[in-house]
Point group: C2
Amino acid sequence: MEEKEISRAVIKRLPRYYRYLGELLENGMERISSNELSDRMQVTASQIRQDLNNFGGFGQQGYGYNVKYLYHEIGRILGLDKTYNMIIIGSGHLGQALANYVKFEKRGFRIIGMFDNNPALKGKRVRGIEIQMIEELDSFLKEHTIHIATLTLPKAGAEEVTGHLVDGGVKAIWNFAHTDLEVPADIIVENVHLSESLMQLSYNITRHDRERE
Amino acid sequence: MEEKEISRAVIKRLPRYYRYLGELLENGMERISSNELSDRMQVTASQIRQDLNNFGGFGQQGYGYNVKYLYHEIGRILGLDKTYNMIIIGSGHLGQALANYVKFEKRGFRIIGMFDNNPALKGKRVRGIEIQMIEELDSFLKEHTIHIATLTLPKAGAEEVTGHLVDGGVKAIWNFAHTDLEVPADIIVENVHLSESLMQLSYNITRHDRERE
């Protein structure tokens, strides 16, 4: 299957399809028309067809979509049929919040290590995972295959630790630090910039206020 | 100034400009050419000029941009020259992590209330903010002007509480719950779907792996 030319916009929508289909499955729904899915998701039916056609379609004329099949296929496209070893670097409030989020584990994202540079956190356990000191990261990376490193630490620390991650063979970074990491081309970075999300909110509040004036 | 027709893509880039300009300011830089800014940000110079032209330009031929001025102007466009009263609903790990994030406060996002339905959290303080029970929300909204409600609670709770927020006059929701909230047209919702971000990461890992095969 050719998946190379798929736009970032489509990729961004796939997890949302996956979420809706998961809800339909939970509600015992076996099939759904693209119009019905369109109503629920507030996306046009033609957009849905177009998006799914990128991956070969899945719909049947006059039948619609088989919910379970489509759910599993989208899951497979998203790589959710596999298991990922994940570590969290920066075990403060946000790092611990992510470690406590059991849904990630259910989807195949297994947190197998947590790190911090704060000695007060050393040895503390979060959902059974022991927080190690950052000095132990290099040797940990030698002993384990890590698919995803989550960075929940301040900017300067994130930039410093990235080199260690790359040297240690980590290929994907989930970055919550307030910076754009410089990484080799084959390293995947997905950013979650919370401050920037909040700024988009304040932009929209401001714009609405101006329009109301 | 006409700001209505500005695309969502531009709005998404503005906080990033703001971040880079803030870093330049911290480093004592007074002016920067669009080419130099382009190099640092890995965005083409023409993209930068085009983006900023949406708001009237700011650049001067042969001089470039005045860093401080541009920083403040973008801050103003983003609504960061104002103060927002914020509440956090769902005071578990993620809610507490956000409450502990002092940078939001510095940018003008003042957290003035936290809520939860877990009696074990009642009266607990996070950075001085007392966690109240969700039953107290309606009366709290009567006594305070709340600009932003942050939802860090499970889906079902988020959907239920949204009606109370709307009735209580809240106009903007920062939604971390794994659902698309149904709100009247004048309510602004900014979503942070962490699971979906993680799925984009696993999609990209899977795609890379396929390409390497």
